[in-house]
């Protein structure tokens, strides 16, 4: 049995954890929140010095040629610091292209993605029309959509790439509850769109990367919520004892750990299942997204409650985790939707 990180994977994990802990500080993240929700220096170092933007991109196209397990390791560490990075759309587009792009599309886009030169965003349940290679429609709720260079649209087994520098593009950046991953609405009016060679496999790739990225971020965030609250529980004294010695308090922390350990199994089960092309990959992806999002919400909510008044302030970082947990829960299918997909796989269609 080898359901544990290999030495190499553990080394990547150590490296990225140290990188985000040192660089994705509360101060820098808060500065990014005041702007477009991106720490550009962090993104440059992430892609440049560490070469991590190319982690899931084949070596032929300038990437590291690693898989979903490594992507999960990176996303988990980024999530633990609520890092303001456009990792999600980036991972999704890279997998969509790697699996479903033509040779020319791969040659054009993948090396630039691996170098971190382009910022990508991906739609979910969008309504749009494509005529003669031009797309029109209003695409809502795009993560980092206000600063993205490229948009991936998909519907009914087909996928298109839209260069957002093209004609007919209007953007509206929204004040977003989670300021570390702000949403935008992009309106397209006859904007040139390039169809991906194999839409169905591209969509499979973006789903896998997106759900694993979100689930792993949620795992990292949930674990950080627990770790930070445990530290507080040991320091804070009330009634003449550390508050972490009260059962009403420590039992909530224990419940968090029980969920987090399952979330960890879920993320790496799904990542391995995709990498190994296992039959249960679809079930694992839906399970991981639903379970980890719910775990994060529970843990971040508890983090606020267990910190008392300070946890409700803007100054304390609890709300960064809490808001990220909320946005993860809704992005690319909420937990009810993912559980219904699991139910379909287990019990068949409802009617």
């Amino acid at each position: 049995m080898e359901f544990a990180l290999t030495d190499e994977q553990a080394m990547i994990a150590d490296t990225v954890r140290a990188f985000f802990a040192e660089n994705a500080t509360s101060e820098r993240t808060r500065a990014a929140m005041e702007g477009a929700g991106i720490d550009r220096d962090l993104w440059a170092a992430f892609a440049g010095e560490l070469g991590l933007a190319g982690i899931g991109i084949p070596e032929d196209f300038g990437g590291a040629g690693l898989g979903m397990v490594e992507l999960a390791v990176v996303a988990e560490a980024a999530g633990a610091q609520v890092a303001a990075l456009p990792l999600l759309g980036h991972a999704m587009l890279a997998q969509a292209l790697a699996r479903g792009g033509s040779q020319a599309q791969k040659e054009h886009w993948l090396p630039r993605l691996a170098a971190g030169e382009v910022i990508a965003t991906v739609s979910w349940n969008a309504a749009f029309e494509v005529h003669d290679g031009a797309v029109s429609g209003t695409i809502a709720h795009l993560p980092h959509g206000a600063i993205a260079d490229v948009l991936l649209l998909h519907a009914a087994g087909q996928a298109w790439l839209v260069d957002l520098a093209g004609e007919g593009v209007r953007r509206r950046a929204h004040v977003t509850m989670d300021q570390t991953r702000p949403l935008a609405t992009v309106t397209l009016d006859g904007t040139p769109a390039e169809k991906l060679e194999n839409g169905a496999t591209a969509i499979g790739g973006l789903h896998a990367a997106g759900w694993i990225c979100l689930a792993a971020e949620a795992l990292g965030g949930a674990q950080a919520s627990l770790d930070r609250t445990v530290e507080y529980a040991k320091e804070r004294v009330q009634f003449g004892r550390p508050i972490g010695s009260f059962q009403a308090y420590k039992h909530r922390l224990a419940d968090m750990m029980v969920e987090i350990e399952q979330a960890r199994s879920a993320v790496y089960w799904a990542a391995c299942a995709v990498d190994e092309q296992a039959e249960e990959a679809a079930l694992a992806l839906h399970a991981a997204k639903a379970f980890c999002a719910d775990t994060y919400r529970m843990c971040a909510g508890n983090m606020i409650q267990l910190h008392g008044g300070i946890g409700f302030t803007w100054e304390h970082d609890s709300h960064l985790f809490f808001k990220r947990a909320r946005s993860i829960a809704t992005l690319y299918g909420d937990s009810q939707w993912h559980r219904e997909q699991v139910a379909r796989l287990v019990m068949g269609d409802p009617a």
Partner: protein, 392 residues
């Protein structure tokens, strides 16, 4: 990081699956699928001996003592195939999984030679004498007394929740051997023969109508002086080492039983149309996800080579499965509706799903209640201050 097993391990899987399935389709078909530990006991003793005759009774033990020296992966595979074949619950699971490993880890060579062959052969069935009326969650509060009289230990007291005691051949007991000692100090771990005038067993009828557990009364019960494991007063350390054996490989076999219960719920939902109810579908999905995560949690636990570190998956496993199964019992009854409340026959005896609903209320209690589990997780896993001990 990988999900699957090696080719050699899969070959081993085929070998044990073929043997187990042949037994359950042929000579032992009459005891196929019995989950409880109370019915057809004589046939199940024969089954234990049949397992032993083909060296399948304790494959993880060293070959010298009747095992195969199987790797962890092979033990996992055997446990999965055992459950998949529908082989009945092991009536000697306490002997094979608890007593044997404890004797292997802490016993003398004489004790190994004396006790292990009987367990391996399936001829010595064991039960566990830990809990007492006043030592449940507070296990260290043992009152049963042991004193050395010449060449014998003489034991007096009462044990409770001793499952399988009514047909066991041996019992291991923790008893207070140092007068005036308190808590975990002064306890001794003894192995005693059940067939003696000083031991009386009374079954306890449970809320599901069955009687798997017992009260065991020890009145001047005796065993030879060399029947202790470790040294006098060292029983707590031995007992705690033994509790560590309770988790691990067997959890994967247990999960195959859970799979069977969840499949039963799915079949019931299809039959009565509840499979179209969106709330039931959400709960079925939650149950399915929970079961899968149990499997991968167990594989993580077993893949973790560094067992010296506190393993989060291992520490949280008990509360996880117990709570999951209790919820499954609730789901079963919500799917069955009022049909679930009617017994099929004239006796107070329940089919799998209503029995799951009733029996699973014990899952969150035995082997450490959910509340005790949360204390352990918070104190050992998260390093929070220990619960202060009262002195009443």
């Amino acid at each position: 990081m990988k999900l699957g097993f090696s080719k050699a391990d899969e070959a081993f899987r085929s070998e044990c699956a073929a043997w187990l399935q042949a037994q359950m389709a042929g000579p032992f078909a009459d005891i196929r699928g019995i989950p409880n530990l109370v019915s057809k006991i004589e046939r199940r003793r024969e089954w234990e001996q049949e397992l032993a005759a083909h060296k399948w009774s304790c494959i993880g033990w060293p070959e010298q003592w009747g095992g195969r020296g199987a790797t962890l992966a092979q033990q996992v595979i055997f446990a999965e195939e055992y459950a998949r074949a529908g082989a009945p619950g092991r009536i000697n699971h306490i002997g094979v999984e608890l007593a044997g490993p404890t004797i292997l880890a802490f016993g003398t060579e004489e004790q190994k030679a004396r006790f292990l062959p009987g367990i391996a052969a399936g001829t010595a069935i064991w039960c566990q004498g830990y809990s007492e009326p006043n030592a449940g969650s507070d296990l260290a509060n043992v009152r049963t007394k042991a004193r050395l009289e010449g060449e014998e230990w003489v034991v007096n007291g009462q044990k409770v929740w001793t499952s399988l005691a009514h047909f066991s051949d041996w019992i291991f007991v923790i008893a207070r051997s140092q007068e005036g000692s308190k808590g975990p100090k002064g306890l001794t771990f003894l192995m005693m023969e059940m067939d003696q005038p000083g031991i009386e067993v009374r079954p306890i009828r449970q809320m599901n109508g069955e009687a798997e557990f017992n009260e065991t009364f020890l009145t001047d019960a005796r065993c030879p002086a060399d029947s202790l494991i470790g040294t006098p007063g060292d029983g707590w350390r031995v007992a705690m080492g033994l509790l560590a054996f309770e988790r691990g490989v067997s959890t994967l076999a247990q999960q195959m039983g859970f799979r069977n219960e969840l499949d039963g719920i799915l079949a019931a939902a299809r039959a009565n149309g509840k499979d179209r109810d969106p709330v039931i579908r959400q709960r079925v999905a939650e149950a399915e996800i929970g079961l899968r995560l149990m499997r991968y949690g167990a594989l993580r636990m077993l893949s973790n080579a560094d067992h010296s570190a506190i393993d989060g998956a291992a520490l949280t496993y008990k509360i996880q499965w117990a709570t999951w199964r209790r919820n499954l019992g609730e789901l079963a009854m919500d799917v069955l509706g009022q049909d679930g409340e009617i017994a099929p026959g004239a006796e107070y005896e329940w089919p799998m799903l209503p029995n799951l609903f009733l029996f699973s209320r014990s899952d969150t209690i035995y082997g450490g209640t959910n509340q005790i589990q949360r204390n352990l997780i918070a104190e050992r896993g998260l390093g929070l201050p220990k619960e202060p001990r009262g002195d009443l």
